[in-house]
């Protein structure tokens, strides 16, 4: 694992490094391409035209450059913004969809780095969203500069504490985090059912929370219907911080050591228990932040079905991104663009959104079993590399 992490300050090594990045990217990129090709076959089998489908997917996720330049022209000649807004809507929506994916993907990735498999990101996402919403709507009259950070912190803390419980159970009692995080998910789902029907229910009859105060909303950069907000940049910042933490700090080194070989780490005098708890705390916090960014930036309220499974997709993102923050960001952007473009594909080409799940599923299969890709594209195995994802019982 350390080979990917050593910084290369000497300029002489630059070329070698960039070729190794290409090596790293090769399998994921081919996995995505193969997934799309197989998706096209499924589309053909369902009697539709895959070019039309992917054309709509592309237009729905990026928008049309022609419309964009036309929008700019209209804006400069008449001052009318409607056409420009319409032109950049698809692209910004894709970034909006990618935002919670980045946070959630980082959450699972940091767990993998320590050899912990956090399947509980979905539950932590809900708890984070509910915590943020609660602080967002219940406190009134604060200026944004205090209220917004407070609401975000509440989301991070909520998710972090929810994640820390399985971390502690693992460290203290050896209870496997896979089982415990799944159980914590169910507790979170049913807890949110109860909260939305009871203590956190808005007046009126709908089982949803009240809207958060304007002072707790993540600022949006454009007017409606564009929902692009500060959350996206916070996600990029989080990715950088996770990178810095993992690769530039002693604590991050300890975490990676525990992930690579807990016995060796222990022998070297590292505190395994503390690292497990800490990583699950951070991991939960990032998942909670995903929920916070969604509620404060996009929805402004929480109802049932608040998440489209971000926490579960996050596992795929971490795998696809090879548990590296930069990789996770790229993977999250890919999923964001796929998910967002699917709306157009569904409408224009009448392909159900489910096809995207099929494509995503196949990508994950290929990432999990890269030998399929290597065999199919006749790629020679460059070097034997083993990524530790999670460890067995009691380790």
């Amino acid at each position: 694992m350390s080979n990917t992490t050593t910084p290369a300050p000497e300029t002489g090594k630059k070329e070698k490094k960039s070729s190794s990045i290409w090596q790293e990217l090769l399998v994921p990129v081919l996995a995505v391409v193969t997934g799309l090709i197989l998706g096209a076959i499924v589309i053909v089998m369902s009697g539709e035209n895959p070019f039309r489908a992917y054309g709509a997917l592309f237009a729905g996720s990026f928008g049309s450059p022609v419309d964009f330049f036309e929008g700019i022209r209209i804006y400069f000649t008449t001052g009318e913004t409607a056409a420009l807004i319409k032109a950049i809507y698809p692209f910004t929506e894709s970034l909006v969809t990618a935002t919670p994916y980045i946070f959630a993907g980082l959450s699972v990735a940091i767990g993998f780095r320590c050899g912990l498999f956090n399947i509980g990101a979905e539950g932590q996402f809900f708890i984070g969203a509910l915590s943020s919403a609660f602080v967002g709507y219940s406190i009134k009259g604060l200026p944004m500069i205090i209220h917004l950070p407070l609401a975000i912190s509440a989301g991070i803390l909520g998710g972090a504490l929810w994640g820390m419980i399985p971390g502690y159970l693992k460290a203290r009692f050896g209870a496997h985090e896979v089982v415990n995080t799944i159980m914590m998910n169910w507790i979170a789902f049913r807890l949110s059912d109860w909260l939305l029907n009871g203590p956190m229910k808005a007046s009126g009859f709908r089982p949803v929370t009240p809207n958060v105060e304007a002072s707790a909303e993540l600022p949006r950069f454009f007017s409606d219907p564009l929902r692009f907000n500060l959350g996206f940049f916070l996600a990029l910042l989080a990715a950088y911080l996770v990178y810095w933490f993992l690769f530039k700090t002693t604590l991050g080194f300890e975490i990676r050591s525990v992930g690579a070989n807990p016995d060796a780490a222990k022998y070297a005098g590292m505190n395994i228990i503390r690292n497990f708890v800490l990583v699950m705390f951070i991991s939960g916090g990032l998942a909670g932040m995903a929920g916070a960014s969604q509620v404060l930036g996009v929805d402004h309220w929480v109802g049932q079905g608040f998440s489209a499974g971000y926490g579960f997709d996050a596992i795929a993102l971490a795998l696809l991104g090879k548990s590296h923050p930069a990789g996770v960001v790229l993977a999250a952007l890919l999923f964001g663009f796929l998910r967002s473009g699917a709306t157009d594909m569904q409408s224009m080409a009448r392909i159900p959104v489910d096809i995207i799940s099929i494509v995503q599923g196949m990508i994950i299969v290929f990432i999990a079993a890269p030998d399929i890709i290597r065999w199919f594209y006749r790629i020679r195995t460059a070097k034997k590399e083993e990524t530790v994802l999670t460890r067995g019982w009691g380790s």
Binding site: L30, F51, F58, S64, R190, N197, S203, A308, V353
Partner: protein, 352 residues
């Protein structure tokens, strides 16, 4: 590596073709778009029934119909926006969760017609912020709310249940205590009480009390396990007929009844002997909420230029609600149900 470059080249060509043929021609047909809630288009309930109305309009009126499924709440506004961008003439949204987004979009686009299933405006209460907590403080002239007096049909089902029970106890439960859910239960209880008053019996209703305004609720619309355990506990309390008003949760109850042979189910929304035909042998009857009829009528009116905003109320009189065949009903019960139905239509019998 050769193969790899070939694949890449093929993809570049493909992407050029894709970009070239994006867009697509649009016809002049009247365009109808339905935005589902989280259940999706094949939920065998709510969204599916509404879309059946769209499909009928496609077949009979020659409109162009399509749907967009929502997988999370952030999709509501996005899907509505998608249809707006495509110059859709009539946008149909399904369910109260889309209430605010529908109103906001309708106000911003007064030339587009909207219909929303199971919701109506005004929907704001004292102190609520329009466009955030609720949709609108007034009626919106380009939105038709499609609502249903399912209490009328529930009344008939309650009467039929009371007439069919062997144990003298009948039960009901809901998903969440929403007006659109408990209205079934209110009618059901009233129907049982009416039977008691007519026949001098003492059939008891478990799981709902209109007086208390509360009853048994699973708290969700998706857990089949909850449906099973609720049915089991009602049977233990002595009930032998159960009306689950909780979408697919009721299928869990039906499975329990079929396995144990100790209870019968009253379906809701659609005729369950059709939509859940594997349980036909234990379905007593179904309370029909004919959203397909309402949606079809709305499309027809919109296409012919007769569309008017406001509220549509589905009743027994306009066939917006109804009751399916009662399994094993005697001729006496059938004629009584017909008479009660007429009474509710005339207004001589109150359904609540």
């Amino acid at each position: 590596m050769k193969k790899f470059y070939f694949v890449m080249a093929a993809l570049v060509v493909a992407s050029l073709v894709i970009t070239a043929c994006g867009g697509g021609a649009s016809s002049n047909a009247f365009k109808v778009g339905q935005v589902t809630d989280l259940g999706g288009i094949d939920d065998k309930s709510f969204n599916a029934t509404a879309y059946a109305g769209v499909e009928k309009a496609v077949a009979e009126l020659g409109v162009e119909g399509k749907y967009l499924e929502s997988t999370q709440q952030a999709d509501y506004a996005k899907n509505i926006q998608q249809f707006l961008d495509e110059d859709t003439d009539l946008i149909i949204t399904v369910g109260f969760l889309l209430g605010v987004d529908t109103a906001t979009a309708a106000k911003a686009n007064p030339d587009t017609m909207f219909a929303i299933v199971d919701y109506a405006y005004p929907d704001c209460w004292e102190g609520a912020v329009e466009g955030k907590d609720c949709g609108s403080t007034t009626e919106i002239s380009n939105v038709l709310g499609l609502t249903f007096s399912t209490d009328q049909a529930g009344f008939l089902a309650g009467y039929a249940a009371a007439a069919s029970t062997q144990t003298g106890k009948v039960a009901t439960f809901g998903g969440i205590n929403l007006p659109t859910v408990n209205i079934f239960m209110k009618g059901y209880e009233a129907g049982v009480n009416y039977y008691n008053a007519q026949k001098g019996t003492n059939v008891e209703v478990l799981g709902w009390s209109t007086e208390a305004g509360d009853g048994s609720f699973t708290g969700n619309f998706d857990s089949l396990d909850d449906g099973r355990s609720f049915a089991e506990s009602f049977v233990q309390e002595g009930a032998d007929i159960i009306m689950p008003v909780a979408g697919p949760v009721g299928l869990g109850s039906a499975a329990y009844c079929q396995e144990s042979g100790s209870c019968k189910i009253i379906g809701v929304d659609t005729d369950w002997t059709v939509s859940a035909s594997e349980y036909s042998d234990i379905i007593l009857t179904s309370v029909l909420k004919n959203m397909n009829v309402a949606v079809y009528d709305a499309i027809k009116a919109a296409q012919s230029g007769d569309f008017a905003g406001g509220v549509y109320v589905g009743t027994l009189a306009n066939n917006g609600v109804g009751i399916a065949n009662v399994a094993g009903a005697s001729d006496e019960l059938k004629s009584e149900l017909d008479a009660i139905k007429q009474g509710i239509i005339d207004g001589t019998i109150s359904a609540q």
